[in-house]
């Protein structure tokens, strides 16, 4: 049976609740604010919203169902997607099918986390059973240590230099300066990038995302409903999702995108060359490069040459992470999986203000999540168009 397309599905109302480094509020507060902004953005009351999807690390002991009572909601379709950086894409594709099937009409997808002074350490210590048993006791470096291995291996195998990663980080910072909610407000030069203090060699300060509090969200509904509400929207053209791909690779140099990308482009009837911008999951620059390769923008191992050939600012030859990405906006826990998605919506609905990619009609967003042990398990991607 051939797979059904996403005809008639609209994605709308990009919301970012402004991030802060530390918050004394609970995750519920951030998700509530996000939901309120989403409803305001489409002019609906919460009683009109019949579907709700949540992603958060720090919501515990609650899950999405507890949040319904906490926020006085009565949805007929409810989802909880605790997949970290893969959540945004997964929330989107599940919500799209629910809308297509009529299980729900208007679905609010929210993702966010709080960040108390000590919550990052506690999250790391208990991130997963494998992390607790086989990673955290080894120096307690968190994801920095895990990605240091992948970065070191990638650098050695494919000859990428720190300068190459630096080019991505510097371009993203330029983009972030045009995004009001980015936590990083100062320009970054390549010299500053290279001179930064080491965190987990070969990773240095500006290779690492800064944990913070915040939330992102969007609305999934039918195109018809979106038109009636008079709101701008993007169309969903294709999605993929894969977990624990290439499990026998000794070290992660590729993820599920490499397995599923043909499916993705076929659904959308496009190819990588057609994209006007790309939003990768950029918890570390090496992961952005891995996505560019796995999603077919260049061949495996050609990431370094691709970086040297292209420019990545919003007005460059290859607009990438046009709001600054997590590296320059901050990583608000699970919201990181939706940051690229809401930015893609802004680009496609012409709301990207000072960083609007000219004539943007097609964009690709990808997600990547959950360093359970030695690698990220979940990967996903979506192509959106206007």
């Amino acid at each position: 049976m051939s797979r059904r397309g996403y005809e008639g599905v609209a994605v709308a109302v990009p919301v970012t609740v402004p991030y802060v480094r530390y918050s004394i509020r609970a995750a519920h507060w951030w998700l509530a604010r996000c939901l309120a902004e989403l409803l305001k953005g489409c002019g609906l009351r919460k009683e009109d919203m019949d579907g709700f999807s949540v992603s958060s690390f720090t919501l515990a002991p609650d899950t999405a169902i507890g949040l319904t009572q906490h926020l006085g909601l009565s949805p007929r379709w409810l989802d909880h997607v605790p997949f970290g950086g893969a959540s945004g894409i997964v929330q989107l594709r599940r919500a799209a099918r629910a809308v297509q099937s009529g299980d729900a009409d208007v679905i609010a997808c929210v993702a966010g986390d709080t960040n108390h002074v000590d919550s990052f350490r506690l999250t790391l210590a208990n991130f997963s059973q494998f992390a607790r048993d086989a990673v955290y006791p080894y120096g307690a470096g968190g994801p920095n240590a895990s990605f240091a291995f992948l970065t070191a291996y990638y650098m050695r195998t494919y000859g990428v230099k720190r300068e190459d990663f630096g080019k991505l980080c510097v371009a993203q910072r330029d983009n972030a300066l045009r995004f009001a909610h980015a936590l990083f407000k100062k320009p970054l030069t390549l010299e500053e990038y290279l001179a930064a203090r080491p965190i987990a060699e070969p990773l240095h300060l500006y290779d690492c995302v800064m944990p913070c509090a915040g939330a992102d969200g969007f609305i999934v509904l039918s195109e018809e409903r979106a038109k009636r509400l008079g709101i701008g929207y993007a169309r969903l053209l294709g999605t993929i999702e894969r977990h624990n791909a290439f499990a026998t690779d000794p070290v992660q140099m590729r993820a599920g995108w490499a397995l599923d990308r043909a499916d993705l482009y076929e659904q959308a009837g496009t190819g990588p060359q057609d994209m006007d911008f790309v939003q990768t999951y950029d918890d570390y620059p090496v992961i952005s490069v891995m996505q560019l390769e796995d999603l077919g923008f260049c061949a495996k191992g050609e990431g370094p040459a691709f970086i040297r050939r292209q420019s990545f600012t919003w007005d460059g030859s290859f607009p990438l992470n046009t709001s600054g990405g997590q590296l320059s906006v901050g990583q608000a826990g699970a919201a990181g999986g939706s940051l690229g998605l809401v930015e893609a919506l802004r680009q496609l609905t012409r709301e990207a203000q000072g960083r609007q990619v000219k004539d943007a009609k097609l964009g690709l967003v990808s997600g990547f999540g959950m360093i359970n042990f030695d690698r990220g398990l979940g990967s996903g991607a979506a192509i959106l168009g206007c």
Binding site: A134, P137, Y138, G139, A140, G141, F149, Y153, I199, V251
Partner: protein, 410 residues
């Protein structure tokens, strides 16, 4: 190479003991159980043979739940290395920078391991071992070769209790075993060895041989005398890095061969209450010095007996006193753990001495047992069963404790 630690500046603050993250799932404790004996074992599926790590509740190859911990080849390749300059944990924060490796075992799994400084840059061959960390939990370490000395590596020294540069108290220097332990510790580079001897008015055999060793200080110590133990602890307790309690009272016979309780009480007074007295007087000071630089308080060694596992009726009351001491040692282990001070229990079979005259060989010589004690310190194991008899009893006991009890009663 480690340099001799400088004399401590008493004005500076003493580093307080912290532990590396100690939480583990129950299934992961299989790694710890093997590491406590100095073994490297991983989960292997009995149905499909898959070797897996991290530990799981089911086989990732075939979903079988018939998993067992089996010795694996330590041969591996270093895929990538990192040096941490930042840590979210207090223990490591005090010890940065810290080297780690991502290592592919020849038997299949990729693992994260602490990295010895002599390991060549990736890709390179390494030997993986499972060691107990300061929290008493197993961690994997990657070594350049099988002969690599962990105690010479600033980072991996944390996982050993190496006597080199350390100050040691051996509680009984009057026995052949005690004297062998002192000599083995001196040969291993111990800085200072206090040697206790009860009844100081009597000169003991071997006294003249111990006296001239430059590391040795003889001091009267009777573990059955609470006041004496307290006084000795007040004098040297704050300096003892390793305490080896080898004081032992051993008589033959069980219940019916000897009337009264005097002998049994004497055994308990040395073997059980002696340990309790020492633990009460020396434990607190050692607990406070668990992170005191390169020569911190690090280990407490108990000379138990394989008879602590199952009663050997011909030495029945002695067995009972050792079982009591074993139980108390487990309590001591729990109480010293917050300081990262390791309790090492040594369970020898019959020692070749006067109280085992009637037992057939093989019997472990004092020198071999002394070497096993030092090796246990150097390799950082928690339980040692030196000698053929101990190894055989251990295997029988692990296989079926009830069967061993029946075998011993006939």
């Amino acid at each position: 190479m480690l340099e001799r630690p400088k004399r401590k500046n008493p004005v500076l603050r003493t580093r307080l003991p912290t532990l590396p993250p100690a939480a583990r799932s129950r299934i992961a404790l299989g790694l710890t159980a093997a590491a406590a004996l100095g073994r490297f074992e991983l989960q292997q599926c009995r149905d499909c043979g898959t070797v897996q790590y991290p530990p799981r509740e089911a086989c990732q190859g075939c979903l079988s739940i018939r998993l067992e911990w089996k010795p694996q080849s330590p041969e591996a390749e270093l895929l990538a290395a990192t040096v941490l300059h930042h840590s979210n944990d207090l223990f490591f924060r005090e010890r940065l920078p810290w080297r780690l490796g991502l290592v592919r075992l020849d038997c299949g799994p990729t693992v994260v391991a602490h990295l010895h400084e002599r390991v060549a840059p990736a890709p390179s061959r390494v030997i993986v071992a499972a060691k107990l960390d300061r929290a008493g939990q197993a961690v994997l370490v990657a070594l350049p070769d099988k002969e690599a000395n962990m105690a010479e590596d600033r980072q991996l020294r944390e996982f050993t209790c190496d006597p080199k540069f350390r100050k040691v108290l051996v509680t009984d220097g009057k026995t052949a075993l005690g004297q062998a332990i002192v000599k083995a510790l001196a040969a291993a580079g111990a800085d200072l060895i206090w040697v206790g001897y009860a009844e100081p008015w009597k000169k003991f055999a071997g006294f003249d041989e111990l006296k001239p060793l430059p590391q040795v200080t003889l001091l009267p110590l009777d573990v059955t005398d609470s006041k004496n133990v307290r006084e000795v602890a007040a004098e040297i307790g704050g300096k003892v890095d390793i305490l080896v309690n080898n004081a032992e009272y051993h008589r033959t016979y069980g219940i019916s061969n000897r009337p009264g309780v005097d002998t049994a009480r004497a055994e308990m007074d040395v073997n059980y209450f002696g340990l309790l007295r020492l633990a009460q007087e020396f434990g607190p000071a050692m607990r406070s010095r668990g992170a005191d630089g390169l020569a911190s308080a690090t280990a407490w060694v108990n000379l138990l007996s394989i008879y602590a596992l199952a009663n050997f009726p011909p030495h029945g009351t002695f067995s009972a006193s050792k079982a009591a001491a074993h139980s108390l040692a487990q309590c001591l282990r729990a109480e010293l753990r917050p300081a990262g001070v390791r309790v090492i229990n040594v369970f020898p079979g019959p020692i070749d001495d006067e109280w085992n005259q009637l037992l057939p060989p093989p019997k472990i010589t004092p020198a071999a047992l002394a070497n096993a004690v030092v090796k246990a310190l150097q390799e950082g194991v928690e339980d040692g069963y030196p000698g053929d008899v101990a190894q055989e009893w251990l295997a029988r006991w692990r296989d079926n404790p009830k069967a061993l009890e029946k075998e011993l009663s006939t």
